[in-house]
């Protein structure tokens, strides 16, 4: 047996085990029970040791040769939805939802159900790959998420949770000029186009009012 025999749903269950208050042997027993479907209640020490050896591969992360999704093609709306799923709890616990957005096929719920039953390696790679992409994205465009007063300080105060939570939607609000009827059109735009646009606006100060005609020339 290998990771190819483990579904995304089973992998999420295994990840949930890491958060539970279990003894080391209990965690091993529960992990083996999830993957093998075997009843581990009556195992002897010898049988347990054999199974631990047989399933020692679960201590190594899944690997896949599959190509990564094209993260740069994601819409702004997908990025905002992904942000919710990678921050509300440990990202791997939402692997099904994250990958449903990364591999968007149609209906979100249908995609989630489909992915939960698929072998985990490709989707593990996609989730980890997205987290790496996300980190670079946030690093490259971090000044878009600071408000003006924080830019002027050498060491900005940590953003309060309200500001952080709404940072992405704040971008949408600015692009719509507060007109919610335009929100869908903005959310469908490629996220990189939006972020580059906003960076340009900020760098060239295009959103600041002109004080006099002479300022223009």
């Amino acid at each position: 047996m290998t990771w190819d025999d483990v579904s995304v749903e089973e992998f999420i269950e295994l990840t949930e085990l890491q958060q539970e208050d279990l003894t080391p042997t209990e965690r091993q027993l529960e992990s083996i029970a999830i993957i093998s479907g075997e009843d581990t209640d009556d195992l002897t020490e010898v049988e347990l040791d054999e199974l631990i050896k047989e399933y020692s591969w679960i201590n190594i992360n899944p690997k896949s040769d599959a190509n990564l999704p094209r993260f740069e093609k994601l819409s702004l709306g997908s990025i905002i939805s992904l942000e919710k799923f990678v921050t509300e709890k440990a990202p791997l616990l939402n692997m099904d939802k994250v990958c449903a957005l990364l591999y968007e096929r149609g209906d979100f719920q249908t995609d989630v159900e489909y992915i939960r039953n698929q072998p985990v390696p490709e989707y593990y790679k996609a989730t980890e790959g997205y987290l790496t992409y996300r980190k670079k994205l946030l690093d490259n465009y971090d000044d878009l998420f600071l408000n003006d007063s924080e830019e002027e300080e050498e060491e900005p105060e940590p953003q309060d949770t309200v500001q952080t939570r709404w940072a992405w939607m704040r971008l949408v609000y600015d692009l719509c000029d507060g007109d919610i009827t335009k929100a869908n059109a903005v959310l469908d735009l490629p996220h990189l186009m939006v972020l580059n646009w906003l960076t340009m606006v900020k760098d060239l100060k295009l959103n600041q009012p002109v004080r006099s005609v002479s300022d223009t020339f």
């Binding site: 003894t23 080391p24 042997t25 209990e26 027993l29 581990t40 209640d41 009556d42 195992l43 002897t44 020490e45 010898v46 049988e47 347990l48 631990i52």
Partner: protein, 181 residues
Amino acid sequence: MIELTLNGSDYALPNDAKEVRLADFNKIYKISQQKEVGYFEKYLKIFELFGIPYHEWDEVSEEKIIELIEEFNKVKVDGSILCNQVTVNDRTYTAFDGDEFVFKARDLVEIERAALKQVDNFPAYILAILFKDDNLTKIEHYIESHIKHKASLFAENLTADIAIPYLSLVAKRTLKSIQSA
């Protein structure tokens, strides 16, 4: 028994595990696990359990204490002999059938839990996990309150020679788990 006289008073220390009640052995085990207590102090605390007041050692030389500790540590117990059945208050409790004892995975989980919680009466608790009442179901056996009650019963009625070999096996198993982690 090791007999000794300190400052005119006679005392006796057990040197056979069969002479030590499990309740006292629980306390000895707990003292031995205290990391913040030094080597000599541990033994003086243990000796205090057997009726030798702490102050009796004030005038005793270091050599004599060391000699006594060495004598005390030659405690007679055959660690290879595992008792497989005990009877307490007319009820029979069995640790294993057949010739050889093997841990059950479920028992290892319970022992780990007890170790992590640092239960006060660890040796008796281990026996309570391993020795099962012949009249109870598996579910009933693993109820925490049942194990706790049985540990108290064993502490009052059994002796250390039954616990020590099992404690030794638990230690070996723990070492094996750490090495394979």
